[in-house]
Symmetry: D2
Subunit: 336 residues, 4 copies
């Protein structure tokens, strides 16, 4: 297979690929040679290249992992699909819903296996809760809650191209909402700039709260924030007839420090500390499903539907009213 | 002092009064003699009566605790105020905002000390967090979250007279929202009947989610539900510039049972197990403030403003739109 | 009933007596008038006295609570027993095993109800685990662990009269060991002075570890220390065939403070914060058993056997060898 | 480098070697071809062999990992040392203290780098606490506690060759005791067969409690058990002047299941779930130290001294008395 993109996520994928004994990485593709070389070493890859053409032209390559900048995802997906390669693509497919839809259509027509990079589903906690929900442990689900906070805002440059807090970050919460509860019918979002001035300058917010009405009548809430002095905070709760599940990784190390005044523990700061195993697990799942010819998951629908919730939330924020997901057509998230 | 009402809350107050060495309970007033007698024993009261007149006429009585049915609160408050007695009144003052406002006006004019029964403020966890917030531990507050679930719905009769989930139960969450973050500007509420049919029959809901926009720009969420298989669930979270506080009482007893498959703990089931000490602490605070001639808290404004949020949330639910607190005049919560 | 001794424990008992509606405190007896007056107010007692004779002579008094200094326990127990009064006595009965045995013999002969003040049995956690063990939740018990640390050493004066760390403090751990696992056959104790010089001067230690061999073959460990910067630390673990129970009260308030670097909680500092409810529960149990004419527990045997383990551990420490409980006759704990 | 032994631990090492980009595995050596092949795939090794000679003769091999059966460790260490190769050896070096001492002498004389496989030191929790202790966070250390329980006893065959519970399992606790507190002066051990009959048949025990007296006067306790219905239980506590540290990994997944009666979490069952990252980290540390020419740790002294504590505990158990570590010469652990 080939790895496209050797940036932050690409590097993590390279490390994981290097530890999968059944996977041979033929090619690392990145315009920055040093990054490609570094990733190649981690992935024990055969070769590096700057040319994306080389990836799509190489007959030996059966699968590609796309972790390039978002604006290239749709094109590369289409090219990979037409070349008959299985695709693992980082989220989101595109900030332009029409473009995303189009690319996913091509994938569908070409009948190539496709998986979107919603790593949180592969966190042992979230995966276990999904199993329990499917086994009926909750009965009817009534309420959902997801809180995600980053330790600090990204750079202005990143933010400007990210699609905003509701697409870039909350999309993970929206995906888990769908994963646990089902399709969303309507959203309302209240959000604002509270501390990160340049978020406002690029048309983004730093603090958001989104209400979700699910098609089955359940109620959801997503809280997002671009700062958290204590670290990288992800908490999920889903409750219903028989009880509730909470997923919260409380500490990075299993250490309790009792000292004058009480006791303390550490906490996660980098998302990779919290979801590193999930990043590995999603690739394991991808290659296992390929080798067993099982359907991949999360798939094109998951990629698209979470994006639509993000777009609807963005519109709700702008227009100050509840927005039905069905209203969301093929609009761009933000004019840039 | 005198205790008016010897029902569930009254009985609890009686027990706590009995354990306050500086308080002499002169009179227990309840139309049900057996209940009054029982409470009198718990409170070591001098005497019982069926006559509310006797309470207001007795010159020796300096303070009254009103834990009678909600519809009598406003009248008894006014009569107590006019008789110059200090007042501790269970929430809410009235389901009719105009009536509540009027009663609180009388209290103000008579210059008698007044405290409303928002016990949650006296929970050691919530009280400690308030102290820390006031000391600047959080800096600017950005987000607030409060989850309250009862183990099971109340009776249809109780529900019909309760003012509904948003007044009867969420009012505690709204009070803590104001206590921690400040005044609320606008709300939107999504709620429905999910499992308790008779809730619908009396015009109530069983599951609700309310968004709060605070005047200082912070964002809040309140989740309420009338069932929780695991027990009485109250969780509060407030986050900001410097970090966050979470208040969650995890278990009734400090016991961990490790057995095949993992480990387990118990949980709170009755609200009095969780907030029993807070019920006692609010009375201690009431009598201490009286004896020191300190101002009482939570006061008439707290009583009124939390009620207004509940009324606004109820209106938002009915009209399917965000409602500003300023819109809420002197309306009744529900025509009965 | 009458309360003898209005010191630290006596004052706590007075508060609890004041809140028990079915108990009438006729007399508080303490040579310090101010202390007696204070306790009388808390207990809503009829009268105070400096004269112990008055307590034993008063026919109306059916029960006495003895929380006077340890050296008086045995005498007062005997006098109360001969006067036909039910007895609740703080631990230990005496530092002199012979004297304790003698006093308990008198109690037995007079057939008066007797309860020893091992409050830890009435902690909701320990009580629940006992119920579970009796219901077979653990099957065969293999190991026991009890850790008790005080926040700081007591005064030299207190220490000199206390019987030492192994009698004064570890006796609670030994009692719980017997409560959960059964009779102890042999002990070995390693202990030393690590930080509190005056402990050595009065023949005491400040840090101790005691191994217990139970008659049923189970193994136990008790760790004690006279300092803990973080507070009052009591942790109990009992494990066996089907799993284990841990009893550990993790925090005084249900508050989590997430801040730079991780999160923190408070902890117990005063033993009364941790075991206050147990102090109340043991009195409730005492009066309930009296009124139902049920046998009291923990009883004279419990009082004596825990003391014997403490004496055996003290001997093991002095002689540097394992000591069988059966070796321990009627010796004094320490020559003073 | 070469990996000798492709059993359970060897396989784990192979996986970790496969994910270390800077390490080239030239050779996997195991008499069982299938195991060697499997490990070779995981480690992406160049070649497999049945011949240990090939390992020691190959000039290209700079380092060996010895995870063969215990009885071969000493010989292979000596041969590797004489061939000038760096050595990572699983614990213990030998069940025969004289043999272990001899082998470690050879290693010393040959001046090859040597690391013993005490993985627990590399657990993020234990490593962090060591850093804190070294930074003075505890001040004087007074007490140490380590509890280790396996979910179920190993097979009789394994047990017969393992050196017994005190060498095979408790040696990890003894190593952490030395790591955190310092050298041990004296031990006393009480142990017995409680449930695993064949433990007795091969001269082993299934439940043990060991007291440690450290040279600095601190007191330690180690509890071991060969069964735990709930899983693989490792808890470490170290306390002193300024507070205490507890290391306890509470659950395998960050999931809380609230259901009727309370809530539950899962727990670790296999030691590799709990200490998998530590297994990887010890190899990372080994190769990093080699490439930086830093001293390795834990070293030959650590290997020997923990073994001596185990031997002393075994002797204490047999002879029913405290045993000083200095008494332990070069004896075999058990005649087999």
């Amino acid at each position: 297979m080939a790895l496209m993109g050797a940036g932050r996520a690409g590097r993590e994928h390279a490390t994981n690929l290097g530890s999968l004994p059944d996977v041979r990485v033929a090619l690392i593709c990145d315009p920055v040679t040093a990054a490609a070389q570094n990733a190649a070493k981690l992935a024990r890859a055969d070769k590096i290249t700057e040319s994306v053409d080389e990836v799509f032209d190489c007959k030996d390559i059966e699968a590609v992992i796309i972790s390039t900048p978002t604006e290239t995802h749709a094109e590369y997906m289409e090219r990979a699909a037409k070349a008959g390669k299985a695709i693992f693509c980082e989220k989101p497919v595109s900030l332009d819903l029409a473009r995303a839809t189009q690319a996913l259509e091509v994938v569908k027509e070409c009948k190539v296996p496709f998986q979107i990079g919603f790593d949180r589903r592969f966190d042992p906690g979230h995966a276990e809760v999904k199993r329990q929900i499917d086994a009926g442990a909750l009965g009817q689900i009534d309420q959902f809650l997801s809180v995600s906070r980053d330790p600090a805002p990204p750079t202005k440059e990143y933010m400007a191209k990210s699609g905003g807090l509701l697409i870039d970050s909350a999309i993970h919460d929206f995906d888990i909402a769908r994963f646990f509860v089902g399709e969303v019918e309507e959203v309302i979002c209240w959000a604002s700039v509270r501390f990160c001035e340049y978020a406002g300058e690029v048309g983004d917010v730093d603090t958001a709260t989104t209400l979700l009405k699910f098609k089955n009548g359940a109620q959801g809430v997503v809280q997002n924030c671009r700062r958290a002095a204590y670290g990288y905070d992800v908490m999920t709760e889903v409750s219903g007839e028989q009880g509730k599940f909470v997923i919260h990784a409380e500490s990075k190390t299993p250490t309790y420090h009792f000292r004058k005044g009480g006791w303390e523990r550490d906490y996660y700061y980098f998302f990779m500390d919290r979801f590193g195993p999930a990043f590995r697990a999603e690739l394991v799942a991808f290659f296992e499903a390929l080798s067993c010819e099982h359907p991949l998951s999360p798939d094109a629908t998951d990629a698209l539907e979470s994006l639509r919730i993000g777009v609807a939330a963005t519109r709700s924020l702008r227009e100050g009213r509840p927005v039905k997901i069905a209203e969301v057509g093929t609009e761009r998230v933000r004019e840039s």
